[in-house]
C-alpha cells in the first residue's frame, strides 16, 4: 500500500506538532570534518578591530572558524591612527592595516587608482585565491573586490544591511554595489529579506545570492535566573537611542504598559540623540521608579544587563538580521519585536512575538508577553538557540560558496568587457573606458613590479600552533 506522507504548510506552522529538524552539522559535530581543499582567503573591509560592532565581530569569528577548518585567512583594513602595518591576532590571523584616509562615518574615501598597487602586492605575496568583502558602505571592500576581479582572483561579497531606493545617497550606494558585483561576484546576504532587497538594488541574478545568517558567541550570554528580581517583570531594551531604532515608539508605549500592568519595570540601556525624550516622558508620567536609564553599556557588560530581565523589547524600524534578539534569547528572555525587515525569519513563534510598528499594538503584545514570560525556561531557550545558529556552521556554508566560486572558469578579457554593457549607450561606453584604463594601470604595475620578483610571505604555522595550544590545554 502506497502511503503518502503529506506535510502541508499549515502543519509546519503549528510547530508544537512537528519536530523541528535542527541543523545536523551543529548537533553531530560533523562540521569538524576536514574540508576538501584549503583556500587562501583575504577578508577586506573598513570595519575591523579596534572598532567594535556587529560586522567586526562577524568577520573575526568567521575568520577564526575558517582557520580552524584549515584555511588561511588574512584581513585587510585601513589604518586606525597609529595602528598601521601588519599585526597578528588570535591563532595567527594576519591583519594588514593599510594607509588610507578615514572618512567621518568610519568608512574611507573612495579612490580609483591609489590602492591598486598595495592591494595587488598583498594579494600576490599572500597568494590569495578568494577575496571576501564585507559591508556595502565600506569603500575598501568595493575596491578590494574590483581589484581582485581585474587580477583574476575570485571574489565574494557579504551584505549586512537593508537599503532603500528613493533618496540620492541610496541611489549612489546601489549603483556602487552594482558596479562592484558586475564580474561574476557571489553575494552572501544575512537574511531572505536582505536577499530580496539586494537583488532589486543591484539587478543581480538571484542564483548568485546565498543566504547565510549571522550568529553570536552564545557562551558569553548564559541565563542567570538569580539576577532577576521576582517581584517585578523586567523589560530590557539595549539599543542606540536614535530614530532608526524606534525610540519614538518606546516613548509612547512605556506609559501605556506601566499603567496597564502594575508590577512591570523597564531597563533601557544605550545612548543617543533621542535620550532626552525618554527622560521627558519619565518626568511627565512620574515613572522614576519604573523606568531606569543606564546610559552607554559596554559590550562586555551587556550580558549582565540582559540577565536582569524577563522580556526583551526591540522597536527597530528597520533591521536586516537582529543579533540583539539572539543574545537576548540566549540569556533566557522572551522577545517582543517590531515586524520589520529580516526579524520575522530569525526566531520561532514560541520565543518571539511580533507587532506592527505602532505603540498601541506593541503595548498590547508586551502586556500579553508579561503573562507568557512566566512559563519560559531560560535554560531551554539558551539550548535551543545555541542549536540554531553556530559560527562553525556558517563557516561551512561559506566554504560551500567558496567551492562553487573556485569551480567557475575565469573568462577571457573580451568576455569580461561584456559585463560592463549596463547603463545605456553612453554609460556602457564610459564603463568600458574606465575598465580599459584600469587594465592599462595594472599593466604598468606589472612592468614596474613584476609578479616573479614578489617574494611570497611566510605563512603563520597554524597547524603546529593549534596542536601546541591543544597540548597545553590538555596538560
Amino acid at each position: 500500500m502506497k502511503q503518502e506522507i503529506e506535510i502541508t504548510l499549515e502543519d509546519i506552522e503549528n510547530e508544537e506538532l512537528v519536530q523541528i529538524p535542527k541543523r545536523k552539522s551543529i548537533l553531530t559535530g560533523k562540521y569538524l570534518k576536514k574540508p576538501k581543499k584549503s583556500y587562501r582567503i583575504a577578508m577586506i573591509t573598513d570595519f575591523f578591530y579596534p572598532s567594535v560592532g556587529g560586522v567586526e565581530t562577524h568577520i573575526f569569528q568567521l575568520s577564526q572558524c575558517l582557520i580552524k577548518r584549515g584555511h588561511k585567512v588574512i584581513v585587510i583594513t585601513h589604518q586606525y591612527g597609529d595602528r598601521n602595518g601588519i599585526r597578528f591576532m588570535t591563532n595567527g590571523l594576519k591583519v594588514y592595516y593599510i594607509p588610507k584616509l578615514r572618512a567621518p562615518d568610519k568608512s574611507s574615501f573612495p579612490t580609483v587608482w591609489n590602492n591598486t598597487p598595495i592591494l595587488r602586492d598583498i594579494f600576490l605575496r599572500e597568494r590569495i585565491m578568494i577575496v571576501h568583502g564585507h559591508q556595502e558602505i565600506s569603500v575598501l571592500a568595493h575596491e578590494g573586490v574590483l581589484n581582485a576581479r581585474e587580477l583574476g582572483i575570485k571574489a565574494v561579497f557579504t551584505e549586512h544591511s537593508l537599503f532603500g531606493f528613493n533618496e540620492i545617497h541610496y541611489i549612489l550606494v546601489n549603483k556602487g554595489l552594482m558596479y562592484s558585483l558586475l564580474d561574476g561576484v557571489h553575494l552572501i546576504c544575512v537574511s531572505n529579506t536582505t536577499k530580496e532587497n539586494a537583488v532589486l538594488r543591484t539587478a543581480l541574478s538571484p542564483y548568485l545570492v546565498s543566504v547565510i545568517p549571522n550568529a553570536t558567541d552564545f557562551s558569553r550570554f548564559t541565563p542567570d535566573p538569580t539576577q532577576s528580581d521576582p517581584n517585578w517583570i523586567t523589560i530590557v531594551s539595549i539599543t542606540r537611542l536614535m530614530y532608526r531604532k524606534g525610540v519614538d515608539l518606546m516613548v509612547d508605549l512605556i506609559p501605556i504598559v506601566c499603567r496597564a500592568v502594575p508590577n512591570v519595570r523597564f531597563i533601557i540601556g544605550g545612548d543617543g540623540p533621542k535620550r532626552v525624550f525618554i527622560e521627558m516622558m519619565i518626568e511627565k508620567y512620574d515613572l522614576q521608579d519604573r523606568v531606569k536609564l543606564l546610559g552607554f553599556v559596554k559590550h562586555e557588560n551587556v550580558p549582565k544587563v540582559l540577565v536582569q530581565g524577563n522580556i526583551f523589547l526591540n522597536t527597530s524600524l528597520t533591521e536586516s538580521f537582529c543579533i540583539a534578539i539572539l543574545e537576548a534569547v540566549s540569556c533566557g528572555l522572551y522577545v517582543v519585536a517590531t515586524k520589520v525587515g529580516g526579524v520575522p525569519e530569525v526566531l520561532p513563534n514560541y520565543m518571539i512575538s511580533f507587532a506592527k510598528p505602532n505603540p498601541e499594538e506593541l503595548a498590547q503584545k508586551l502586556i500579553e508577553a508579561t503573562e507568557k514570560c512566566k512559563d519560559v525556561d531560560p535554560y531551554f531557550f539558551h539550548k535551543e538557540v545555541r542549536e540554531m545558529y553556530d559560527w562553525h556552521d556558517i563557516a561551512e556554508r561559506t566554504e560551500k560558496v567558496y567551492d562553487d566560486m573556485m569551480l567557475q572558469p575565469e573568462r577571457p578579457l573580451f568576455e569580461k568587457l561584456r559585463y560592463h554593457s549596463r547603463g545605456g549607450t553612453w554609460g556602457a561606453l564610459l564603463n568600458k573606458l574606465i575598465f580599459m584604463l584600469r587594465l592599462i594601470w595594472l599593466f604598468i604595475l606589472e612592468v614596474c613590479f613584476p609578479r616573479e620578483q614578489i617574494h611570497y610571505a611566510v605563512d603563520f604555522p597554524t597547524d603546529k600552533f593549534l596542536k601546541m595550544k591543544k597540548k597545553k590545554l590538555n596538560n
Partner: protein, 315 residues
Amino acid sequence: MSLIQTNQQKAGTKEPPKEKKAEHKRKAEQKKKPWRKILYIQQDYPDNHTDKSFLEFMVLNATARRRSFGELSLAATSITQELSIVVLFIVIFFHSYNNTLPLVHFVVINSILIVLGYLMFLYFEEDLEITFDLIFNHLKTFFIIFASVFGLSSVLRTLTKAISNDTIWALTTFLFCLHLFFQDYGYLNGFKNRFFAPFSLNAAIFGSVILASRLNSDFYVFVFLAFSFQVFALSPLLRHSIKKFSNEFQVLLTALMFALTFGLIVTINTLFAILFFFFVAFINFGSPLSLMAAQKWKLFIQGPWDCAVVETVHK
C-alpha cells in the same frame, strides 16, 4: 547554482543493498517539504535557493498615477493663459510707450471687461452668498485701490527718472519671468481653494510699476496701473472660478486669450508672433507628451525591507 545543489545531494551514508531499495521507495513517496522563509532550521534546499515566493510582497508603483493627454493639456491651459496675459501686458506697454495706443478705446474696453468680469465672477463662484454686504465690501476695496493709484500716479511717473531704459527692460524681463515661475497654478487649475502666491504677485506689480514709470503722462500711468491691477490681481480669481465651473469654458477662454495676444503681437513684429505661437504649442501640447513618454520609466518599489514610518515623531 546546480553545483551547490549536487554537493549536498552527494552527502549520503553507505547502506547495504537490501535496505537501499526500501529507502529509495520511502524517499520517492515522501514529498519534499515546502521551502519556508526562515533561518533557524535546516531546510532541504541549498543556500542560494530562490523560491517561487521570491519577491511576492514587492509592490511596484502603488502611488503612481497614469495621467492622460487630455488631463495634462487641460492643466497646461492655465500656464498658457498666464503667459498670454503677460505678453499682452508687455504689448500694451509697448504701444503706450510709443503713443500708438488709442487711449479712449482702451479705457472703455477695460471698464466693460471689469464689470463683465465681476458679474461672471459672482455667477460662477461657488459657495458665495450674494448679499448687499459682500458687494459693498468688494466695491469699497476696489475704489480704495483705484483711488490710491490715481493719487499716486504723478509720483510713480517720476519714480525711475534716474535709471536708464536698459536697466528697466532687463529688470522687467526678469521680474515677469519670476512671476510666471512662481504663480499659483494649483489655484488657477481649481485644485486648491486659496490663492496664495505673494511672491509672483509682488514681482508682477513691481514690474508693472517700473514699466509705468517710463510713460509720458499721469493719466497714462493711472490707466496702465489700473490695467495691471485688473490683470494680475483680479483675473486669477475669475479664471479659477471659470475652471471650476466648466472645463469647456476654460478651453474657450484660453483660446480667446491666445488669439487676442497673437493678434496684438502681429501689430508689432511677425517673427515674435510666430515664436509665441510655437512656444505656446510646446507648453500646452509638447510638454504633456514628453511627461507621458517619461511615465513609463517610473519605478517606485515598496516591500517588507522598507524602513517603517512612525506616526508621531518626537522632535
